[in-house]
C-alpha cells in the first residue's frame, strides 16, 4: 500500500517536473529544434563563456538579461564572492614581481648556506616551488570563483595559445607575472598588445629560447672573452675552450618558428623556412635582463646581440634600423598582426574553442573580418562570436567535450564546492593529463574532443566525480546548502531536481531510466539496513550518490 502511494506521488511529481522541464528548456523528442529556448541560451553561454553555472547563476543572469550580463562581463563588472578574495590573499607570491620571487629564493639560499642538509634541501625545494604552486592555485581559484567568467575563459584560451611551461628552467619564476600582467591584462584587450607583450615576457623569451638567440661574436669579442677567462682561471686551455664555445653562439630559431606557426599565421601558411630564419634574425637581441640592484627581471634589448642588415620577411623588406634596431622585431610583430592569415588563424581557433570543434568556413570568415577590421580588439571579437548565428545554432548546444580543466572546474562550480586545499585537485588534473601550466608543447593543450575522449580517461573522471560528491576529496566540500532545496522525501524528485541544476541540456532518457533503477536498488538496500552504517537519513546516502553519477554521466562531459 505504502509502495503504491509512493509510486503515485512519483508519477504526479514526475509529470509536474517534466512539464516544467519542457517549459524551461523546450526539449522536444524527435522534432528538429530550430531555436534554443531562453533558458537554453543562458545555459549555452554559461557553458562556453563561463566554466558552467554556480548555484543560482542561471536565475541571476535571467533577471539581468543575457545580453546585458554578457556586456557587463566584457567590461569585467561581475562581482566575485568573498571566498575568492580570501583565497587569493593567502597566495602571497601571486602579487609579486619575478624579481621579488627570485629575491626571496635567494634569501632562502643564503640562509641555508653552501652546505645544505637533508631538511634544508626540502626547504629549498619548497622555496623553489612556492610561486609555481601558488600560480596554479591562482588560476584554479579564479576559474572556480571569479564573477567575471568571460575573462576567465578568454585567459584560458590565451594561456594555451601563448603557452609556456613551468617545467622548463626558470619559467616557473617568470610565469606569475606572465599570467597576471600579460595574459589577464590582454585577454579582453588587444591582440597586438598581447603578441608584443608575450614576445617581450621573460617567460616566453626563456620558454622558446629567444633570450639566447644572437649574432655570432666578432673576432674582437672572442679575444676579449679569451683574455677574461685567462685572467680569471689562469689557464690557457680553459680560455681556448671558452673561446671555442663562444664562437658557436648564434641564432636560435625556436621562437621565430612558433611565433609564425602557433601564435599568428598557422602552420605553413604564407611563410617558409627562410621566413623563420629572417624573423629569428629580426628578433635577435630580445633577451632577459636581471638587474640585481633594482631587483627586476625584465625584457631588454641588447644591440650587441642583434644581427644587423635588412631582413626580408613574407616577400617584403624590413629595412635595417640602425638607430633603433628593436623596431625591426616590432615591425615583424606588427606586420603579423595586420596579416589576413593571422586574423583567419585566430578566428578559426576561437571558433573551435567557443562554438564547436569544426566551425564552418563562413563563420570563421565572419569572425576573421571583425578581427582584422578592429586590429584584434578582443572584446569586439568575442562580441562577434556571441552574436554569430552559428554560436546559437541548436546543434552546438552541449556539443563540445569538456577538457579535463573544464570538467573539474565546472564540477566544483555546479556543486558550489568550497575549496580550502587544492592539492588533490591539481593531482586530479595531472592524472587527467592537463596539469595547469605544464603543457610541454608550445601548442598548448588542445580543446577538441578528439584530443581527450580516449577510452580509459573517463575512469579518472568517474573516480573524481564520486569522491567530490561524497566529500572524499581532502580540502574540498560540497556544502549542505547545495541539498537544501531537495524535496523532503521522494528520491525520484531529488534526481530530477539535481539533474536540472547540473545538466544544462537536461537528463537523457537512458541516464534517467538507469538512475531510477539505481535509486530503487539503493532504497531497497537502505530499507533492508544494508547501507548507511550509522543510519544516516536516506537523503544523505542517496543524494550524494546521485550527484556523483550525474557528474560522471555522459551528459556532464559535454558543454
Amino acid at each position: 500500500m505504502e509502495r503504491r502511494l509512493l509510486l503515485f506521488c512519483v508519477l504526479v511529481i514526475a509529470t509536474a517536473t517534466s512539464s516544467l522541464d519542457s517549459q524551461g528548456t523546450k526539449r522536444k523528442q524527435g522534432t528538429h529544434v530550430l531555436e534554443l529556448s531562453e533558458t537554453q541560451k543562458i545555459r549555452h553561454v554559461l557553458s562556453r563563456f563561463a566554466f558552467g553555472p554556480t548555484p543560482g547563476l542561471v536565475e541571476r543572469v535571467r533577471r539581468q538579461g543575457l545580453d546585458a550580463w554578457f556586456e557587463d562581463q566584457l567590461n569585467q563588472k561581475g562581482k566575485s564572492p568573498k571566498i575568492l578574495q580570501d583565497r587569493l590573499a593567502d597566495l602571497d607570491t601571486w602579487g609579486r614581481s619575478a624579481g621579488d620571487i627570485l629575491l626571496e629564493l635567494q634569501r632562502v639560499r643564503e640562509d641555508i648556506g653552501p652546505d645544505p642538509k637533508q631538511k634544508d634541501r626540502a626547504r629549498l625545494n619548497r622555496a623553489r616551488n612556492l610561486s609555481r604552486n601558488q600560480l596554479k592555485d591562482a588560476v584554479l581559484f579564479q576559474a572556480i570563483y571569479s564573477g567575471n567568467q568571460v575573462i576567465e575563459t578568454a585567459t584560458d584560451f590565451f594561456r594555451n595559445h601563448f603557452n609556456v611551461s613551468v617545467n622548463k628552467g626558470s619559467v616557473r619564476y617568470y610565469a606569475t607575472e606572465y599570467e597576471r600582467d600579460v595574459l589577464r591584462k590582454g585577454a579582453l584587450g588587444n591582440f597586438a598588445w598581447l603578441l608584443e607583450h608575450s614576445a617581450k615576457s621573460p617567460a616566453m623569451l626563456f620558454y622558446l629560447d629567444n633570450y639566447l638567440s644572437r649574432r655570432p661574436p666578432s673576432k674582437q669579442e672572442l679575444k676579449g672573452i679569451g683574455r677574461r677567462v685567462r685572467r680569471k682561471t689562469k689557464s690557457k686551455k680553459r680560455a681556448e675552450e671558452e673561446v671555442e664555445i663562444a664562437k658557436q653562439r648564434g641564432l636560435n630559431e625556436n621562437y621565430g618558428r612558433e611565433l609564425l606557426e602557433l601564435h599568428t599565421l598557422g602552420v605553413d601558411h604564407y611563410y617558409r623556412q627562410k621566413d623563420v630564419i629572417e624573423v629569428a634574425k629580426a628578433l635577435t637581441g630580445w633577451t632577459i635582463h636581471r638587474d640585481r640592484k633594482k631587483n627586476t627581471i625584465s625584457f631588454s634589448f641588447r644591440p650587441d646581440m642583434h644581427i644587423q642588415g635588412a631582413k626580408t620577411f613574407l616577400g617584403k623588406v624590413i629595412p635595417e634600423n640602425k638607430k633603433n634596431p628593436i623596431r625591426e622585431g616590432e615591425m615583424v610583430l606588427e606586420r603579423l598582426v595586420r596579416h589576413k592569415g593571422t586574423a583567419h588563424f585566430l578566428a578559426w581557433k576561437l571558433c573551435r574553442w567557443f562554438i564547436n570543434d569544426n566551425p564552418s568556413e563562413s563563420c570563421v570568415q565572419r569572425i576573421a573580418k571583425v578581427f582584422q577590421k578592429t586590429r584584434g580588439d578582443m572584446k569586439a571579437v568575442f562580441r562577434a562570436i556571441y552574436h554569430d548565428s552559428e554560436f546559437w545554432s541548436p546543434e552546438n548546444f552541449q556539443a563540445k567535450f569538456k577538457r579535463p580543466f573544464e570538467f573539474v572546474v565546472s564540477a566544483l562550480r555546479v556543486t558550489g564546492a568550497e575549496v580550502r586545499s587544492t592539492r588533490a585537485l591539481h593531482r586530479a588534473l595531472a592524472l587527467l593529463s592537463e596539469p595547469i601550466y605544464e603543457c610541454e608543447d608550445p601548442t598548448g593543450y588542445y580543446d577538441q574532443a578528439e584530443a581527450w575522449n580516449d577510452p580509459g580517461v573517463l575512469a579518472v573522471r568517474w573516480s573524481f566525480a564520486m569522491k567530490l560528491a561524497t566529500n572524499k576529496i581532502p580540502g574540498v566540500r560540497i556544502p549542505d546548502s547545495f541539498y537544501a532545496d531537495l524535496h523532503p522525501s521522494i528520491p525520484q524528485v531529488w534526481k530530477d531536481q539535481l539533474a536540472r541544476k547540473m545538466l544544462p541540456a537536461g537528463i537523457g532518457e537512458k541516464t534517467d531510466a538507469i538512475l531510477d533503477d539505481i535509486i530503487k536498488k539503493v532504497v531497497k538496500k537502505y530499507k533492508g539496513g544494508k547501507v548507511g552504517r550509522r543510519r544516516k537519513p536516506l537523503k544523505k546516502v542517496l543524494a550524494p550518490l546521485l550527484v556523483g553519477l550525474l557528474l560522471g554521466s555522459p551528459e556532464f562531459q559535454k558543454q
Partner: protein, 437 residues
C-alpha cells in the same frame, strides 16, 4: 637532484653485466615467424609490436654517428662525441666502419651482438615540414601532407585485422599512458591506461557500468539492450562519449584483474618515465594477455639548447632508452621472441649545432628496431652523408628511406598482414624491401 642519475649509471653497469642472459632470453636460432592464418590455426601466441615515439625530434646525427666524416666535428664543435678517448672514457660505439652509436646507447650493444637490434638511418618523411606537430601527425597517421587523414596507422591495422565476431581481447592494444598517441586513435577502440586509480575503482566501474552500457551483471544488460545501447536500433551512431566509457569499463576491469594476478618483475629497469611504461606493458604480456600492439610516448627530445655531448640531457635520455628497452626484452623472457620494439621520432635535427650548443628542427631521423624477430647486427637504410653538398636544403640530414617502408615491413613481415590494402598508406609508393625482419 643528481641522485637519480647516479643510480641510473649504476643500473646501466649492472645491465651490462647481465648481457649474456639477455642474449639468451632473446634466443637463437631463428625466432618464430608466422602469418596470421597459421597463427590462428595453431593457437600460437600473436606477434607483439611495441612502438615508442620519441617526441620533439631525436638528434639523428648524435644518435647514429658518422664518426669518420670530417664534417662531423666541424659542424658540432661543442656537442660532438669523441671518437678516441683515454682509457675509461666514453667514446662513439663503433658499429661499422663509418657509423657508430652514441655512448649513452651502450645497452643496445649486447642486442646488436646477438643480432637482435638494428638502427634504420636517414629515415623520415617525404614532406618537408619542420613543425613538430605536423610532422608527428603525418608520421602517426602515416599520411605525410594529408591533413584529412585522422586515423592512426596502428589503429587502421587493428581495425583491418579485427575479429569479425567482435571477440578481440579488450587489451589487444593499449597505450601505457593517460591519453592515446595519434597512431592509436581511430575507429578501433584502444585503451589508454589511466593512472592513479585506487582500490575503489572496481566499485566505481560497477556504478558507471550501466550508465555507459557496459555488459553488466543483472539489470544493466537488459537495460542497455532495451535502450538500444550498442548501436541503436535505428542504426543511429552511438554517442562517442558513451562508446569510450564502455570500452573504459571493459578494458579496465580486465587490466586490473591482470595486475592483481601477475607477480612483480624481477628485472631491474633504469629509473625514468619510459621504463615505468615499458614495465607496465611487460606485465600485461607476462600475464598471458593476447596483447598485439602497445605504445608509449616520451616527450622531451627537442634539444634547442645545451643538448650535451658525453654528459647532459640527451646522454641521460639515451641511457634510459637503451637501458629500458634492454630490460624490457629481458623481462619478457620467452615472449621476447615474438616481440618487436620500434622507436621513431618526427624528424632529425640540424646537422650543424646552433648558437646555444643545441640543434634546431631538421629532416632525416633514426628508427630503432629490437627484439627476437629483428634481423639485427646490421644498419639499414642508405647513409646520405653530411658533407654540405649532401645535406637536405643545405642544413639537414637527407631522407633516404620513407618511414612507411619500415611500417609496411613491420606489418607484413612481423604482424603477419598478408597484403596491405591500397589506401592503407595513402599516396605511398613502396620502396625497396629493407629486409629488417
Amino acid at each position: 637532484m643528481r641522485d637519480p642519475i647516479m643510480n641510473h649509471r649504476m643500473d646501466r653497469r649492472s645491465f651490462l653485466r647481465r648481457t649474456g642472459s639477455a642474449a639468451l632470453a632473446l634466443g637463437f636460432p631463428v625466432p618464430l615467424r608466422h602469418g596470421l592464418s597459421t597463427l590462428e590455426r595453431s593457437g600460437k601466441k600473436p606477434p607483439i609490436l611495441v612502438v615508442i615515439f620519441l617526441r620533439g625530434g631525436q638528434d639523428a646525427v648524435n644518435t647514429v654517428i658518422p664518426y669518420t666524416e670530417p664534417h662531423y666535428e666541424e659542424f658540432r664543435p661543442t656537442i660532438h662525441i669523441p671518437v678516441k678517448g683515454d682509457q675509461g672514457e666514453r667514446t662513439v660505439l663503433k658499429l661499422t666502419a663509418d657509423l657508430g652509436l652514441h655512448p649513452g646507447l651502450a645497452s643496445f650493444l649486447p642486442l646488436w651482438k646477438a643480432k637482435r637490434f638494428a638502427p634504420v638511418v636517414a629515415v623520415g618523411s617525404p614532406h618537408p615540414t619542420r613543425s613538430h606537430f605536423d610532422a608527428q601527425d603525418f608520421m602517426e597517421h602515416a599520411a605525410p601532407g594529408l591533413r584529412t587523414v585522422r586515423s592512426g596507422w596502428l589503429n587502421r591495422y587493428l581495425a583491418l585485422t579485427a575479429d569479425r565476431n567482435g571477440k578481440d581481447s579488450h587489451l589487444r592494444a593499449l597505450a601505457m599512458q593517460g591519453l592515446l598517441p595519434r597512431s592509436l586513435r581511430g575507429e578501433y577502440p584502444v585503451f589508454a591506461v589511466p593512472r592513479g586509480l585506487d582500490g575503489k575503482t572496481g566499485k566505481v566501474l560497477d556504478l558507471f557500468g550501466e550508465l555507459y552500457g557496459a555488459d553488466d551483471k543483472g539489470m544493466g544488460q537488459e537495460m542497455s539492450e532495451g535502450m538500444g545501447g550498442r548501436r541503436g536500433k535505428e542504426g543511429a551512431p552511438e554517442d562517442p562519449v558513451v562508446a569510450a566509457g564502455r570500452t573504459t569499463i571493459e578494458a579496465l576491469r580486465r587490466f586490473q584483474e591482470l595486475q592483481k594476478r601477475t607477480p612483480k618483475s624481477k628485472v631491474k629497469y633504469p629509473r625514468g618515465p619510459l621504463s615505468s611504461k615499458l614495465q607496465g606493458i611487460a606485465k600485461v604480456i607476462r600475464a598471458g594477455e593476447a596483447l598485439e600492439v602497445a605504445c608509449a610516448d616520451w616527450n622531451g627530445w627537442d634539444h634547442h639548447a645545451q643538448e650535451g655531448s658525453l654528459d647532459g640531457k640527451m646522454d641521460r635520455m639515451h641511457q634510459e632508452v637503451s637501458g629500458s628497452i634492454h630490460a624490457f626484452l629481458q623481462d619478457l623472457g620467452e615472449d621476447a621472441r615474438r616481440t618487436v620494439v620500434l622507436t621513431m621520432t618526427e624528424f632529425g635535427r640540424t646537422v650543424r649545432e646552433n648558437g646555444n650548443s643545441g640543434t634546431d628542427h631538421g629532416h632525416g631521423g633514426t628508427m630503432f628496431l629490437a627484439g627476437g624477430p629483428v634481423k639485427g647486427g646490421k644498419i639499414y637504410g642508405k647513409w646520405p652523408g653530411i658533407d654540405p653538398m649532401s645535406l637536405y636544403q643545405g642544413r639537414d640530414l637527407a631522407v633516404t628511406t620513407d618511414f612507411r617502408d619500415v611500417m609496411a615491413e613491420v606489418l607484413q613481415k612481423h604482424m603477419g598482414l598478408r597484403r596491405i590494402p591500397k589506401d592503407f598508406f595513402p599516396d605511398y609508393r613502396p620502396g625497396k624491401a629493407l629486409g629488417l625482419l
